[in-house]
Symmetry: C2
Subunit: 592 residues, 2 copies
């Protein structure tokens, strides 16, 4: 495994040049005193040091060792305790948390870069703090002031961690049918009972306390998703003075044995009359949970990006070093018995596919991060509303497309190493295994596509798509320079997206199955088209910048590669979308 090297130059290029986020910060009342370009740069450099030298070097050993479980107790791999302590001490758990509770209060656009580094360094390790951040967001957004004061400071400081307890054995995607119960007690608390599965960080030895956010039903709750409430259920009860009290009846019954993220404790959690406190309104738990999940779904997309970025480091290193076969005559190194892999066209195709998907994905996650910041911090309500619309549209795309393309990239990164990519030693296969979960959890990628096309695009009768198309169209109205062909192709593709969207919307009334039949291909279409815009934007920005020539030309050539070799995938997706639901629903059960 090659050393992990953070793509700092690319991150700074995106923040400073492509998206000019410092200009946003200057105008934002909630950010202008907390962050400026110098601070941002210093934070990214510190984060790079932390992830490159402390976390990344231990990821393979941690995967190899995995977690240990005995009698309800989880022990994390060697080194994790020290790593987590250092993370907490540096304030990294609270990167985006509000300063009121001890957080750094930094914008999401910066946190997105930090999260990429954490995921690249070690997905398993990143989840312990990642879930904690998610829990703090839910509590901060929906809990009473009393609950916030009691739980947030220690969580933001990384002294306590958080978990999200949603899934039950019979209820994953369909949370409306959960069976966990919460019965009101005389003291205002609730007695929570039920079994939750797939609980990341449900139990571990990295923190003094674990604050579980648990979905459960009140005794008189309506059926389905409108009858679900959200509760705080701490592992240890917290006394009035903030000290830890009794052990609560919230216990890990077992841990899952998984394909990857071996160092992340995925627990079955048994709540047996555990003491809990209601967060937000009764029966509105799912809404509260999804506020947080929408914010955090970008983070899961970034997991895919991080795994891919790490894989690229090793794949490129290997392609430069490993010698097999001969390249074209002009490129042969006759001093050695073979040429480096990099001379071979197919190795280049795989590396550049990775590079174009990773840097495209980084631009995408930064763009969505910027919109999240605008939606939260922009001065004018109009700006906030418009950014929120883009966030609503792009969140499912970020989650699904960045994990699908990230997974594809890790597969290429493994393939480049041949047999050495299949053995554990080089770490490439771990990235494949670790990345795979990001396509599944936090709402499968199929569910994300349904969210995009059903809830967002069709739900708004296409309105929610317009700001994105308008932004790309306005970009294309600018000077094309040497990119006339690509500008022209993308302009036509935008029209195709509009046309196809219109076709789908036209069928919604008469075909109940249309959305779910074409949603995944549609999400991919939106993803590839958006990446095409981002690649042109990056190439044009790079041309006008003072970056080193190799960086500028790398951007230009990767943009050309993307249009030549990756974007054409849309010409396969469009006819598949237009085929609609007919072929899928022609089948009766016995014909499968």
């Amino acid at each position: 495994m090659a050393d992990y090297k953070v793509a700092l130059q690319d991150m700074n290029f995106l923040l400073e040049d492509v998206f000019a986020v410092a200009k946003d910060w200057e105008t934002m009342p909630g950010l202008q005193d907390l962050v400026d370009p110098e601070t941002a740069k210093a934070i990214l450099e510190e984060a790079a040091k932390l992830t490159e030298t402390l976390i990344a070097p231990n990821s393979r050993a941690a995967d190899e060792e995995g977690i240990h479980f005995a009698d309800g107790v989880v022990t994390t791999p060697k080194g994790y305790k020290e790593q987590f302590a250092e993370l907490a001490a540096g304030g990294w758990v609270g990167v985006t948390a509000t300063p009121e509770f001890g957080g750094m209060g930094l914008p999401k656009v910066l946190s997105a870069q930090y999260e990429e580094m954490m995921c690249a360094a070690d997905v398993s390790f990143s989840l312990y703090s990642g879930l904690t951040v998610g829990a703090t967001i839910a509590i901060d957004s929906h809990a009473s002031d009393e609950l916030k004061a009691r739980y947030l400071p220690n969580m933001v400081a990384g002294k306590w961690t958080g978990s999200m307890c949603l899934t039950e054995p019979h209820a994953g995607t369909d949370l409306g049918i959960i069976r966990s119960k919460a019965v009101p007690q005389d003291d205002g608390s609730f007695s929570v009972t039920g079994t939750k599965i797939f609980i990341t960080g449900g139990e571990h030895d990295l923190a003094e306390n674990i604050i579980h956010l648990v979905l459960a039903k009140l005794p008189d709750a309506p059926a389905g998703s409108r009858g679900i409430s959200l509760f705080i259920v701490p592992k240890y009860l917290v006394n009035e003075d903030g000290s830890l009290g009794e052990r609560n009846e919230a216990v890990a019954g077992s841990v899952e044995h998984k394909m990857g993220i071996h160092a992340s404790a995925t627990c079955v959690m048994n709540f047996d009359g555990a003491k809990g406190w209601l967060v937000g309104e009764p029966n509105r738990g799912l809404t509260a949970m999804f506020t947080m999940m929408n914010y955090e779904r970008l983070g899961v997309g970034i997991q895919g990006l991080g795994s891919a970025a790490r894989s690229y480091c090793t794949a490129l290193d290997y392609a430069l070093d490993r010698r097999q076969g001969r390249g074209a005559k002009a490129t042969q190194d006759t001093s050695a018995e073979a040429d480096p892999l990099l001379v071979h066209g197919d190795i280049r195709r795989m590396l550049l596919t990775m590079k174009s998907l990773i840097e495209g994905g980084r631009a995408f996650s930064t763009y969505v991060g910027k919109q999240l910041d605008l939606a939260k911090y922009a001065e004018s309500e109009e700006d906030r509303v418009q950014a929120q619309a883009l966030v609503d549209l792009l969140t499912p795309v970020a989650k699904a497309f960045l994990t699908d393309t990230g997974f594809e990239a890790t597969i290429h990164g493994q393939q480049i190493l041949g047999g050495h990519g299949y053995v554990r030693e080089w770490g490439q296969e771990q990235l494949v295994r670790d990345c795979r979960i990001a396509q599944i959890y936090e709402g499968t990628n199929g569910i994300q596509a349904l969210d995009l096309l059903g809830r967002k695009v069709a739900g708004s009768r296409g309105e929610l798509l317009k700001p994105l198309l308008a932004e790309i169209t306005s970009f294309l109205a600018g000077d094309a320079g040497q990119w006339e062909r690509q500008y022209g192709e993308l302009a036509i593709l935008l029209q195709e997206v509009e046309r196809i969207t219109g076709e789908i919307l036209g069928q919604v009334g008469s075909d109940e199955n249309i959305i779910n039949s074409v949603a995944v291909d549609y999400l991919n279409l939106i993803g590839y088209v958006t990446f095409a815009w981002l690649w042109l934007k990056m190439a044009r920005t790079a041309e006008a910048s003072n970056y080193p020539a190799s960086f500028i030309q790398g951007k230009q050539k990767t943009a050309e590669f993307y249009f030549a070799r990756i974007l054409p995938r849309v010409y396969g997706l469009m006819p598949a979308i237009e085929a609609g639901s007919k072929e899928l629903f022609a089948f009766s059960e016995d014909q499968f």
Copy 2:
């Protein structure tokens, strides 16, 4: 994990109806006394019983336990010894081996079905006999009569197994630079010294002896691939009377820790002056090895198919059983709190993608198997030559396309189970891990593409492509029935394939990088177009058959699905191919 159920009906449909192989057998001098439709059917049924009830049920436990290694000794997982003994006793190692040495002498077209079952049941386990078969083919084709008589009977009987020792630490794809040496001895044997890595079944406890086929260089060998010879190096020397003698200096130094196929022993083999015997001509070892590898590459393609077929069993079972969410109003089961997954469009899309790729792949492997049989057994030389041309063309496609589509299918099969697909319990993630190696070993899929487009298509100036196109064109000239649209689309695609092939051939003289830059996309194009033909062939054949209505309609509807949702991928591949090498070779090293 659902029970593995062999697709016997589909296999019989392909053999009897689609490819009418019994008619071939009747005319083949080498087969007519050995096999007829009744025998074939009985053999497939026996093989199904063996794989479904003996081998498949142990595959997950075997993966979980893995192999054990200590002091050069490999212990296989619980149950493997008994399984292998039963396999050997049933004569299954010698399915295709010549009766002269105790084999069943069955055609490849039947063996292909058996191999799919073995791989579906347990890829790891299948490799111990699979490599043995490969070794017997190499020995049978190239060794002296004396060596054949000494080694083949026990190998064919499964008393001894075989291994292929090609790769060295610095030489994988590029075998021309291997360093293992073979020094002639006075007694006619050779002293073989060198280190080989990634040796499947290099050491284990399933057989009394292991016959290694080792590539090494004679002292006076020319440099590069024309200076490599092939040697038999047994683990235990074999005495004149056939009994086992001294332990040879061929020892496993360690075993690899891998992403998957945990129950397959992948060894580092140290040959330290080991006694070996030359197979075939000096310096012609690579040719000898490739004769065998070309025959066996279909088998590796079938690994992808087998993993996918197994994954489909569990995915379909789960989709019928697991209830999450609600389908369209018309399909809701109001007696339960949710509908089975199968009502959801995206679940159907994934299942049908699997089904169309698996059954398309099964048809493809059967077709290539038929050509292998014709090339070997057909009465007229003309028929043999024509079949061999198809074999040469399609072998790399079978290896790469069946493993790439097989891998894609296992990913869908995992995704359908959501989080349950990621945990080990259900077995779906094991199929992903096990399938992944088939895209890498026996020549990476990139190398297969290079073989197809470079050696085969460009090497013959396009001649080798013609028989395939002619066969499809002749099919399309027949009555289209209700398939006029699909016949028309495929006819146009054939013209596109010809046009694009011509374009590439036109660039070969001026662009040394063109082949390796577009080979993978080109192989996929050929794969999808060939599958389209096979799907029409299957649909048309089914229509005219007496199979149950659900089977016939399943075939028809899957053909329609394939054309609507899968074949369009070619419209993304063609422009990518036409982009050529330019964008790939514009990059200097520092721009990656």
